[in-house]
């Protein structure tokens, strides 16, 4: 079925996870369905502006990148009457679509898709493309479950082309092209340097920094997000080192650089140029997988340490590519240890050991590169969702 109008709803819950995914999803879907009119309803444009500077939080309705962006917190019957409802509606992460909109959508829209959170857990396959009966009207609702297997909704692939570099100097130049000029002076020694990106929740990073310092090669860490930067500063204090007043801290052979916010496409490409990445949440996990570089995932903390179930599920998927049993056991041990914290605090000591991971980056890179290739070929979320839409209502949900 062809849909000429598409509305996407997003509630900003915390951090930039939800809106980050939705921003990426909307642009990718618009690129795949250029003839459809697309509108995105966001309830917090102030947060959105942090990742998309072109947005004006004062405006209720604005046009950007061929998409209409609407402040959903201002939706009332008058505005809904003026805007109308779309034939195809996406609710993201089961967000609550305002009732003034739904009252009309139940009868005037055709298809509602709930784009869920990404998970590696096995049950996701059984939930994918399943219907969710609605209380009234003729509208039909389905669940779309992103995941890491062919039988899930897959991943939102990068929209930028893969970066290809052959020499250390080329890599350094490529890194510099993606980040602000004021950082360039701290990037040097490309032949010998290990580059890593770090984007975590608030946590203790003492062990990680110790292992970076003791590594046989110098390590440069590009650190993203206030929580990560705060955690590194605490670690420097714990090591009785005074954090520098500048945004760069040099601890023996380890250089820690506090990065400003950079655009999504730059971040995506930067991960491909690193030797390893530490990522948090959902969207940066996807970018890390697709980067083809070794990564460690900092999962969103949940009650009763449920994040460990999610980490184990991801490791279980990755076992297919990290076939060597010692590599896999060490990798899984590190991932679980890294996520075995009771709360989001820099105070809680951790017992992970990064040495095996850091000493075997090339081996892990080979595995993650194959995983990335598989995901790109078989788990393209936009391709899957446009196929679902095209085939609707002749689907097997």
């Amino acid at each position: 079925m062809t849909f000429s109008t598409i509305d996407i709803f997003c509630n900003v819950v915390d951090n930039f996870g939800d809106i980050g995914v939705v921003y990426r999803f909307a642009r990718a879907l618009k690129a795949a369905l250029p003839n459809s009119t697309m509108r995105v309803f966001v309830d917090d444009l102030v947060t959105f502006k942090v990742i998309c500077s072109a947005i004006d939080p004062q405006k209720a309705v604005q046009e950007f990148e061929s998409i209409t962006w609407i402040d959903s917190s201002r939706l009332d019957e008058t505005l809904v009457a003026q805007l109308g409802v779309a034939e195809l509606v996406f609710e993201t992460f089961a967000c609550e679509i305002p009732q003034v909109y739904m009252k009309r959508a139940y009868y005037e829209s055709t298809l509602l898709i709930n784009l869920e959170h990404l998970s590696a857990e096995e049950w996701v396959e059984g939930y994918h493309e399943k219907e969710s009966l609605l209380p009234e009207g003729t509208l039909k609702k389905f669940y779309f479950m992103p995941g890491f297997t062919e039988r899930t909704g897959g991943l939102i692939l990068n929209t930028t082309h893969p970066i290809s570099v052959t020499t250390p100097n080329e890599r350094l130049d490529a890194i510099k092209s993606l980040i602000p000029d004021q950082i360039h002076m701290y990037l040097h020694n490309p032949e010998n340097m290990i580059f890593g990106s770090v984007f975590t929740y608030t946590r203790n990073l003492d062990r990680f920094v110790e292992d970076c310092i003791s590594h046989s090669k110098p390590v440069t860490l590009l650190t993203f997000g206030q929580k990560t930067i705060h955690s590194f500063r605490k670690t420097l204090e714990n090591c009785h080192l005074t954090p520098s007043q500048r945004s760069v801290h040099i601890v023996e052979a380890c250089t820690i650089i506090e990065m400003p916010f950079i655009p999504q496409p730059n971040y995506d490409q930067l991960l491909q140029l690193m030797d390893f990445n530490i990522v948090r949440g959902e969207d940066s996990l996807t970018r890390a997988v697709l980067s083809g570089k070794p990564f460690i995932w900092n999962a969103y903390l949940q009650d009763n340490r449920y994040q460990i179930v999610k980490v184990e599920a991801l490791c279980s998927i990755m076992h297919r590519w990290i076939a060597n049993s010692q590599d896999f056991e060490e990798y899984q041990r590190l991932m679980i240890a890294f996520n075995s914290v009771p709360n989001e605090s820099e105070m809680h000591p951790t017992n992970e050991n990064f040495r095996y991971f850091l000493n075997n980056l090339k081996k892990f890179e080979h595995s993650i590169n194959e995983m990335s290739y598989f995901m790109t070929r078989n788990c393209d979320l936009i391709k899957k969702i446009t196929t679902f839409i095209r085939d609707y209502p002749n689907i097997n949900g």
């Binding site: 819950v13 992460f93 089961a94 709930n114 869920e116 959170h117 990404l118 998970s119 857990e121 049950w123 059984g126 939930y127 399943k130 219907e131 969710s132 009966l133 609605l134 209380p135 009234e136 009207g137 669940y143 959902e282 969103y300 949940q302 009650d303 449920y306 179930v309 949900g397």
Partner: protein
């Protein structure tokens, strides 16, 4: 109104004017602690089956249909026969009608059979049932915490998870909503 996470096999709900009986309900935890529930629903008017998914917290109009106390007599792959405890009338249910209840159904068990327009359409198990362990690996001495679980088979052939201290021959109490071990009986 009933929350979706409180629904279990045998419950009846009204959605968009249609009556459905829940045949199966599975809970899974999603991101940020939000759970999803997958249910197998049977439309009581058309007999059509729907495999549906909901976010925990969604509400349903629950409908109480007539129910009769009946004893499970016998069954095969096609039909399962129950007898009314008052008038000895027999009614058949299919495997799909029984849904998750089949996991705990034992001959001679007396349970609520849901009746709609004179026909048996499903059963509702008690929230807690007692079952006997017919096979499990030997108990581990010293484990009394019950946090580590192992597989065990009960007398219906269904496999459950029990604490390490449980032995063959033990009777255990199970929560039929979640299929979780509660205690030794």
């Amino acid at each position: 109104m009933k929350l979706v996470e409180d629904l279990r096999a045998g419950n009846t709900v009204k959605v968009n004017g249609n009556l459905f009986i829940v045949q199966k309900a599975i809970y899974n935890k999603g991101a940020r602690g939000a759970s999803s529930v997958k249910m197998k629903l049977k439309n009581l008017a058309t007999g059509a089956m729907n495999e549906t998914v909901y976010r925990a917290g969604e509400k349903f109009d629950d409908v109480v249909l007539e129910r009769k106390q009946m004893q499970y007599l016998y069954g095969n792959d096609d039909f399962y026969t129950f007898m009314d405890q008052e008038n000895y009338e027999q009614m058949d249910l299919t495997k799909d009608d029984l849904g998750d209840a089949l996991n705990y159904l034992e001959e001679q068990m007396v349970i609520d059979v849901i009746v709609y327009e004179g026909k048996a359409v499903g059963v509702e198990l008690p929230i807690v049932v007692e079952c006997e362990i017919t096979y499990t690996e030997p108990a581990v001495r010293g484990d009394t915490g019950g946090k580590v679980l192992k597989a065990a088979t009960i007398n219906t052939g269904y496999e459950i998870q029990v604490p390490l201290y449980v032995n063959i021959g033990d009777k255990v109490k199970m929560d039929t909503r979640t299929n979780e071990f509660m205690s030794r009986a």
